[in-house]
């Protein structure tokens, strides 16, 4: 029986393979990039979706988050923020422990709301910056 369950687990993973390829958040444009490990947020290149959302008139918010060490952590963030209509794009970088959001043109999201949503995701915000780094 245990062998059957083990095989079922493997089959389960296989059936999820399409979801694995896409599931980084509820926004289809959510994505990730591979930053250098010692890269500072200010130096971080913007990924394609973030860049596209900014080009559409959105504003960039960068939050530094403690405790993000795995995909479940990142996914918690993308799914929590992905439910918000004012969020146009989301990007989580585990290397720099940074959450990037693009807020749609004409919309806003206060620091208090961002901190609350990070908390509801199970994590802790240490800093929030707005706009592009100098």
């Amino acid at each position: 029986m245990t062998r059957i369950l083990a095989a079922a687990s493997a089959a389960f993973l296989f059936t999820l393979s399409p979801a694995l390829a896409d599931d980084h958040g509820e926004h289809a444009h959510d994505d990730h990039a591979h930053g250098e490990h010692d890269m500072q947020p200010a130096d971080m290149a913007l990924n394609e979706d973030i860049s596209a959302a900014l080009a559409a008139g959105g504003s960039l918010v960068t939050a530094e988050v403690n405790g993000m060490v795995c995909d479940f952590c990142a996914m918690a963030m993308t799914r929590t923020f992905g439910r918000r209509d004012e969020v146009a794009a989301i990007h989580v970088d585990l290397d720099t422990k940074v959450l990037q959001l693009v807020i749609r043109e004409g919309e806003s999201m206060t620091d208090e709301v961002i901190r609350d949503l990070v908390t509801r995701s199970g994590y802790e915000t240490t800093a929030i910056r707005r706009g592009m780094a100098d």
Binding site: L13, A19, G67, V69, M75, G122
Partner: protein, 212 residues
Amino acid sequence: MLKHILAGVGLLACTATADARPVSYEGGWTAIGETDRASSALWVHYTPHYEWSLGGRVEWMRDRDLVFTGAQATHLVHRRFRPDSQGNLYAFAGAGVAEGIDGNPRDAEAAGFVGVMADWETRRWFVSWEARLADFGEGGEAMQAARVGWAPYEGDFGDLHTWFMLEVDQRPQRDEPVTVTPLVRFFKGPVLLELGYTPADDEPFASFIYRF
């Protein structure tokens, strides 16, 4: 010494390995399946608040043909953040009924368990410990398990993450009270899969977690 401590607590029955991430983000669902040398279990939970999860659990104690069906609540007692690490302390409890299956004629009886779990991890290292006491209507048993893991590389969000782990578990009531289980963990997006083997009991180990 450890055996005496466990016995002194009045130990009841239990299974389960360290369940990774027993509490999710608010509004998140998690499905967990696991089979180890003693039991096989399915568990689905919902996180209404980031410090709590509530769900249903079915667990089959294979050597006794006994099945537990009930509800489980898990509380995140404390989470310690650092920029590059995270530590968690959880307490959990479950209540339901346990009844015999196959050749076991035992009727359904009230059953339950309590336990604690702690873990600490970075993107390279993982350690955890879990202990559980349970009463499935057949006297007391207990278990505890400790695990250490190492990731050979640091993947980013969405990459395939690979971990090599070693779990040591103690179940005083079994013929082999202490066993070691080497296992490998694959982790990608919402899915975590673990495969291993317990040589002392000649039993495979497998678990999966799907978060949605």
